[in-house]
C-alpha cells in the first residue's frame, strides 16, 4: 500500500518537473522496429538467384551479355542499401526482342 503511495508521489513530481528520461519501452520499440528493418534487408540466396535470372532475362532482350559472368550484390553503407548489378556487355542488339506477357504469379513469396 505504501509502495503505491510512493509511486503516486513520484508520478506527481514527474508531472510537476516534466518528464525525465524517455521510458525504456519506447527505447525497446524503436530498437525492435530498426532491427526488423535491417533483418528484412538481408535477402536470402534463393530470392537473389530468382532476381538474377529475371534481370538476365530483361537485359538479354536489349544486349548480348555473358550470362555466366553477371554479378548481383547488395551493398550496404551508412544505413542505406543498394542493389548492384554488374555484367559485361558483349554486343547491343539492333532490334530488342518483344516484351513478353507480364508475369502473373510472383516466383518467390515474401511478406
Amino acid at each position: 500500500m505504501l509502495n503505491g503511495f510512493t509511486q503516486e508521489l513520484q508520478r506527481i513530481f514527474q508531472g510537476i518537473f516534466g518528464k525525465g528520461k524517455p521510458s525504456s519501452k519506447d527505447t525497446a520499440k524503436n530498437r525492435i522496429q530498426l532491427a526488423l528493418i535491417c533483418d528484412k534487408l538481408e535477402i536470402s540466396e534463393d530470392i537473389l538467384k530468382n532476381l538474377q535470372m529475371d534481370i538476365v532475362e530483361v537485359i538479354s532482350r536489349y544486349f548480348e551479355i555473358d550470362t555466366q559472368a553477371i554479378k548481383l550484390d547488395i551493398s550496404k553503407a551508412e544505413g542505406k542499401s543498394a542493389l548492384v548489378v554488374n555484367t559485361p556487355i558483349l554486343a547491343a542488339k539492333r532490334q530488342p526482342l518483344p516484351r513478353p506477357e507480364p508475369i502473373k504469379a510472383p516466383r518467390a513469396k515474401g511478406r
Binding site: M1, N3, G4, Q7, E8, K25, R31
Partner: protein, 265 residues
C-alpha cells in the same frame, strides 16, 4: 470427424509455447472437444512433464509415425481431463527422423479421431519447425513483450505467411505494472510491430510456475489469471467471436484510487 490442426510456435525458446499448448488443449477439452496435443520437440521432450504425464509414456509420436506401434498406443490420456490426449516426443531421436510429409500423413489419421490437434512446435526455424507447420491449418504465434522475442516472432510470422498460413498472436507474460510505468512494451506496441490479429493476452502469473511444478494445468487452478486467459483463447479458437480480449490490468491500491479521484493519476 475432421479435426483441425493448429501449430503453436514462437521462434524463440522459453516464451511459453509448451505451457500455452498444454493449457489451450486442456481448455478446449473442458469445452467438450476431443483434443490431441503433440510434442514436436523430438529429442527434448517437455510437454509430458508440464502435463504431469511423464510416468506414463510407453510409446511416442516417432514410434507411431514409423509404425512401431498403433497410433492409439502412443496416445496418453490426461489424468484429470477425459477428452485430452498427449502424444509425447521421443527423447532418443533427433528432428530429422520425421519429415513434413510423414507429419501430414500422421495428422490425417489424427483428424479422424480428434476435433483439435495442437502441435507444440520446437524453438527455431529448422526441421522441427518445418515438420510442425506442414500439416497445420492454423497457427498461433506466441511472444513475450521483449525485443528478442518480438523479433523472432516477426521472422516466424513471415515464414508462416509464405506458407499461406495467417497466424494469430498471443502476447504472454505481460506485467501490467511495468507496462503502466512505461518499462514494458504494451500489447498494442507488439501488435503495431507485428501487425497480425490478436487472439489473447496472458498476464505473468506465479500460478503457472506452480502448475508446472505439480503438473496440474493452470486452467484447473482457481483464480489463475493465466489459466483464465488461456480459457478465453480456447473459446475464441473454438469460434466464440463474442469473447472480448481482456487487457491485464494493474491491481489498483487504495492510494492510487484516491490519486485518480483527485485527478492526479
Amino acid at each position: 470427424m475432421n479435426g483441425k490442426v493448429i501449430v503453436i510456435t514462437s521462434g524463440k525458446g522459453g516464451v511459453g509455447k509448451t505451457t500455452a499448448t498444454a493449457s489451450i488443449g486442456a481448455a478446449l477439452a473442458l469445452e467438450g472437444k476431443q483434443v490431441a496435443v503433440v510434442d514436436m520437440d523430438i529429442g527434448l521432450r517437455n510437454l509430458d512433464v508440464v502435463m504431469g504425464l511423464e510416468n506414463r509414456i510407453v510409446f511416442n509420436v516417432v514410434d507411431a509415425i514409423k509404425g512401431k506401434c498403433k497410433i492409439k498406443q502412443a496416445a496418453i490420456k490426461d489424468r484429470r481431463i477425459d477428452s485430452l490426449y498427449l502424444f509425447p516426443a521421443s527423447q532418443s531421436d533427433n528432428k530429422d527422423v520425421l519429415t513434413p510429409d510423414s507429419m501430414v500423413r500422421f495428422c490425417k489419421e489424427l483428424r479422424k479421431e480428434f476435433d483439435y490437434i495442437l502441435l507444440d512446435c520446437p524453438a527455431g526455424i529448422e526441421r522441427g519447425f518445418e515438420n510442425s507447420v506442414a500439416p497445420a491449418d492454423e497457427a498461433l504465434v506466441i511472444c513475450t513483450p521483449e525485443v528478442s522475442s518480438v523479433r523472432d516472432a516477426d521472422r516466424v510470422i513471415g515464414l508462416l505467411l509464405s506458407k499461406s498460413i495467417t497466424p494469430r498472436l498471443i502476447v504472454n507474460r505481460i506485467i501490467p505494472e511495468m507496462v503502466e510505468r512505461g518499462d514494458m512494451l504494451s500489447h498494442q506496441d507488439v501488435v503495431d510491430v507485428l501487425s497480425i490479429e490478436l487472439i489473447g493476452l496472458v498476464e505473468m502469473d506465479d500460478q503457472v510456475v506452480i502448475a508446472t511444478n505439480t503438473g496440474i494445468s493452470p486452467v484447473l487452478q482457481k483464480g489463475s489469471k493465466a489459466g483464465e486467459a488461456f480459457k478465453r483463447i480456447a473459446q475464441r479458437l473454438n469460434g466464440r467471436k463474442d469473447i472480448p480480449i481482456e487487457v491485464p490490468q494493474v491491481n489498483k491500491s487504495i492510494w492510487k484510487k484516491i490519486g485518480q479521484k483527485l485527478g492526479l493519476g
